[in-house]
Subunit: 206 residues, 2 copies
């Protein structure tokens, strides 16, 4: 089903990014800042997967962003069939990319192929630098890691070198960006990377 969805996305030339993280690591803020930074370059929509609220989708819609809320009904993850149903409700022809805001969870979502072209994850500084030791699968399945809330570094004992070494051991090819979605720090490099991924895909895909 994930493979079928990827073939469909290639047909419509729509890049799909699956964004995963713990609750409260800053997925929605990062998505908002990313879409606003890239607004003149690529058209990005959002598929929201919250357990039981429409807060995020409403926030995005209020900013004029194409957003669709999936109700997971208590589910702890998304799979390709849920994603496909969600995408059926969006006007893909008018979008270069869709970002899936997956359920806040470092465990279950890592086990399911959503059909996305790239998997991304956020680890926020207050969560600690030991997370790759505890949730190795998540770090292994992702193409890119955003280390968010670097503005908390001064209050934290987070060891960036130790974190990078732990992540590289699990996944040597992962791209890592240190950002603060709130202050904007580091967001330019991440947005440039994402924009290049999207353009590369839409050109190959269609």
């Amino acid at each position: 089903m994930a493979r079928r969805l990827r073939a469909k996305l290639a047909g419509s030339g729509t890049f799909l990014l699956n964004l995963m993280s713990s609750p409260g690591s800053g997925k929605t803020t990062t998505i908002l800042a990313t879409i606003e930074a890239l607004r003149d370059q690529v058209r990005i929509g959002v598929l929201e997967a919250d357990i039981d609220s429409k807060v995020d989708a409403e926030l995005l819609a209020a900013r004029g962003i194409a957003a669709l809320q999936l109700r997971t009904g208590g589910f702890c993850h998304l799979d390709a069939s849920m994603v496909e149903k969600g995408l059926d409700g969006m006007l893909l022809d008018e979008l270069d990319a869709v970002i899936i805001e997956n359920v806040g969870n470092l465990v279950c979502p890592a086990e399911f192929d959503t059909g996305a072209i790239n998997n991304a994850m956020i680890l926020s500084v207050p969560e600690g630098d030991d997370k790759p030791l505890k949730y190795p699968l998540m770090f292994s399945v992702c193409d890119v890691l955003l280390i968010n809330k670097v503005d908390y570094m001064e209050l934290s004992d987070f060891n960036m070198d130790a974190l990078r070494e732990r992540v590289s051991k699990l996944n040597p090819r992962i791209e890592i960006f240190e950002v603060s979605a709130k202050t904007g720090q580091g967001m330019e490099a991440w947005c440039a990377w994402l924009s290049a991924q999207i353009k590369d895909f839409t050109e190959r895909g269609t």
Copy 2:
């Protein structure tokens, strides 16, 4: 199975607390600080449930705390049968209480009765005050909520009043403590509450 486990705990006079939270909200630090604060009053052991590491159990054991590591093998939660197996490996006669450090996850663990006497959860300030809207079941099934990392309040836009109102709507009887396990702020009130719960149970139980 959870009922059978609770009967067994009443027999041995061992209080069991199931502690749940997102990854990185400070479960291990809170457990360590709590056990050290209550060391002269009650004997507390720890059942650790990490996905794939022994880091926490080794840390606890190094401080002379009775700790047993459950390997969940990628599982996203604990159930009563896993807890019972873990407790079978501990010397319950020498313990007044056991704290389960559940898998870092706000979704799945809320759905399983572990056999614990009380459910507790940690929400840390950097995760944000909107979590009760997104993970309502977790807030509904808990007897006590620790709002941890209050030392991050100054850097955060966390609204404590809004958080308390959202939690109370879901669960009017929940006990709430604002703490920083790192700095010690607020830990005295939480430890006094826990100690009273343990003493009440061990007196009734045996």
